[in-house]
């Protein structure tokens, strides 16, 4: 307003803030979207912490902390505007933590976070420019690097304050156990059937399953969070429906239990929270459905016919790579791109 005092006779007097239209904006902002995702993950995360105790806390703190710190440090080094306020690094950290076993050593979590944010996200230009889901890249790298530790799935005894009780010798393989999914997959491969009743596993898988990653403690709470995100319009139903639908259908087609195959392993965490990552999934509606179905097909085919039971990570990463091509297949036809039949006739 002080400019008004400097007006001259000839120059136009600009006294007010101007900006191009539109002058109003919808309420929902990027950090709010991230907060919704965090809120939707929280019930499952807190339930995991409640059941797993200190190790879970350490996994979460190490994963989230390394993600946020990596992004902060990267921006600082590159002299870029700080971006940790968009909260996306916290989401990545939570997803990373929930995709590893609770007793993953804290330094492995930190390596995962550094790889997720540094390699998969910031190196590509930060939020919005990465091709692959950062949390999954982080998980894939630490899983391949410390395969023994990462498949340490012995049922956790529970209790607090015994986080660092992993043997200092590093012989972590010695305490390997197996998840229900791993046992079922091995049974299937070896005998063509199952040594236990899959249907009896639904209850534990839905509500309290202490074998596997932090995100597998309660499938029920993941479904709840996913539904909240769909209802709030944060994620598109097409990806989880395509994903879970094709997992169920294919498992059934291959003679396995569809519900067990949806509930066990990382399918739900992947379908609701990872495959739906905006940046790395298609932007077209039909593309999203195809993308979801592709994830499910890849997931089940590799689960049944590959060496590992847990292939959600690679299913989604594979489809991430295809996402831009899928979008190309579904380029929309703009409104009015029709044959101007009447006009052509009239012009002729």
């Amino acid at each position: 307003m002080s400019d008004a005092t400097q007006e001259s006779a000839s120059a136009p007097v600009h006294t007010r803030v101007v900006a191009p239209a539109p002058h109003i904006a919808a309420a929902l902002t990027c950090p709010q979207i991230m907060l919704w995702v965090i809120a939707a993950l929280l019930p499952a995360a807190l339930w995991a912490v409640w059941n797993m105790g200190t190790p879970a806390i350490i996994t979460f703190v190490a994963s989230i902390g390394s993600c946020v710190l990596t992004e902060f440090a990267w921006n600082a080094m590159m002299k870029r505007k700080q971006t940790i306020g968009d909260l996306s690094a916290i989401v990545t950290g939570m997803l990373l933590a929930m995709s590893v076993p609770p007793r993953t050593p804290w330094w492995i979590c930190m390596v995962g976070g550094i790889v997720a944010i540094g390699l998969a996200k910031m190196l590509f230009g930060g939020l919005g420019f990465n091709l692959f889901n950062p949390a999954l890249v982080g998980r894939a790298v630490v899983m391949m690097s410390w395969l023994g530790v990462m498949s340490e799935v012995k049922p956790y005894a529970g209790g607090w304050f015994n986080a660092l009780s992993v043997p200092a010798s590093g012989k972590l393989d010695a305490i390997n156990g197996a998840t229900r999914l791993a046992i079922a997959t091995a049974d299937r491969a070896a005998q063509g059937g199952y040594g236990f009743d899959l249907a009896k596993q639904f209850g534990p898988l839905l509500f309290k399953n202490l074998e596997g990653s932090l995100g597998e403690v309660s499938a029920g709470l993941l479904i709840l969070g996913g539904l909240v995100l769909i209802v709030r319009g944060i994620i598109d139903w097409r990806i989880p429906v395509g994903y879970i639908g094709s997992v169920a259908l294919l498992s059934w087609a291959f003679g396995s239990d569809p519900i067990f195959n949806v509930l066990a392993g990382g399918v739900l965490l992947g379908a609701f929270f990872m495959a739906t990552d905006y940046v790395t999934s298609p932007i077209t509606k039909n593309g999203r459905l195809v993308f979801g179905i592709g994830c499910g097909v890849f997931n089940i085919v590799t689960r049944f016919f590959g060496p590992m039971p847990e292939t959600t990570t690679f299913a989604i990463l594979f489809m991430n790579g295809l996402a831009p091509l899928i979008d190309r297949m579904f380029m929309p036809k703009p409104f009015g791109h029709i044959k101007p039949a009447k006009a052509v006739k009239a012009n002729a």
Binding site: V18, A19, I24, C30, Q32, G128, I283, K285, F335
Partner: protein
Amino acid sequence: MRIRPFAGGTHPPDRKEGTAGRAVRPGPVPDRIVLPMSQHLGAPCTPLVAKGDRVARGQVVGDVEALISAPVHSPVSGEVTDVGPVLTPGGVRAMAVTIAPDAEQDLTTWVPIQAPRDDVRATVRAAGIVGLGGAAFPTAVKLSPPKQFTIDTVVINGCECEPYLTCDHRVMLERAADVIAGVGLIAAAVGAKAVFIGVEDNKPDAIAALRAATNGAEVEVVALKTHYPQGAEKQLIWAVTGRAVPRGQLPAAIGVLVHNVGTAVAVLEAVELRKPLMERVMTIAGAVGDPSNFLALIGTPIETLVEAAGGLLPDAGRVIAGGPMTGAALASLDVPVVKGTSGVVALTENESAPVVDGDQACIRCGRCVEACPMNLHPFAIASHADRRMWNGVERFNALDCIECGCCSYVCPTRRPLVQLIKVGKAALMAKGVK
């Protein structure tokens, strides 16, 4: 119901409660009337008066021999005090005639239009009527569609889908019979048989008033879903007639003409009363003391009207000529109301979209794709325009964009999408891409 919802769109809070119930009252006679010579799309007028001249109400003060143009009339009797460039609502300086109104004004009379009585087109041209919805395209030109097209349908736009604005609402409510009569004149002038008035269903009283006023006339009042941009020409035509305007073509190509409700009334007054376009109904809304609808004299400084509406409230920030989705932010309130000014909206700082610094990354959430009523990929056009990759801008069909602003409105990272798309379109047009 024959209503076809268009794809996409969004629903900003309509905020019409402030003025929807405010009857139109006469605007003040200001101490000066400023009449830009270009208040319409097309060729600017040449001033026909000089400093010191006396002018009468209704006298032509600017005109030009060009197909696409519209003369400018003085809405007051008075003396020309200046002929020279002034700041216009669009933010540019343009030639204008400034008039000091006489102390005594008789607003009930005027210099009648000089045009053959039975020639509606000539009358509308002489009356200086332009589309009052905001685009300000000369109405006489629209009434003379290219010979190869047969107009069978006239659609009157009473949607008023921009938030805050209620001037069309009040016109439909208070002058329903005149709207119907004006529509009849337009339809007869172009030989159209079917006439529709499309109104968003958040104005049930206007719909009822129009239906009551139809009185046997062949006019169908269509209640449309309240959804922005329902009042955009192509979306309105689709909703009402089920016809899509082919890309790059005028609605006339599919036999349709669209006019605003205010334009219909202006046509009626020109034909029946020989009255030129000297006033228009406009809304002053938002952060002002007494939000109002005025019948404002064209050329009234917006400052004067804002004062008449109680003045800006202390928390007023951006002030917009037109609606908040497509209007232009005013650098100064010392600019005149022009024919296309449908309203002035004062937004508080909190209500205003943040002024962006161009640094927002797209997170590919797809909200702009979902909101685009033209089924485009706004994020992709904007990203290409941002990098001056004009081929990409063209490949993603930027020229189909109607600049409604839905994409920017919904963007959670506040990327200036429609703003970048406009830059891209301008670059393509400069290169001659059609």
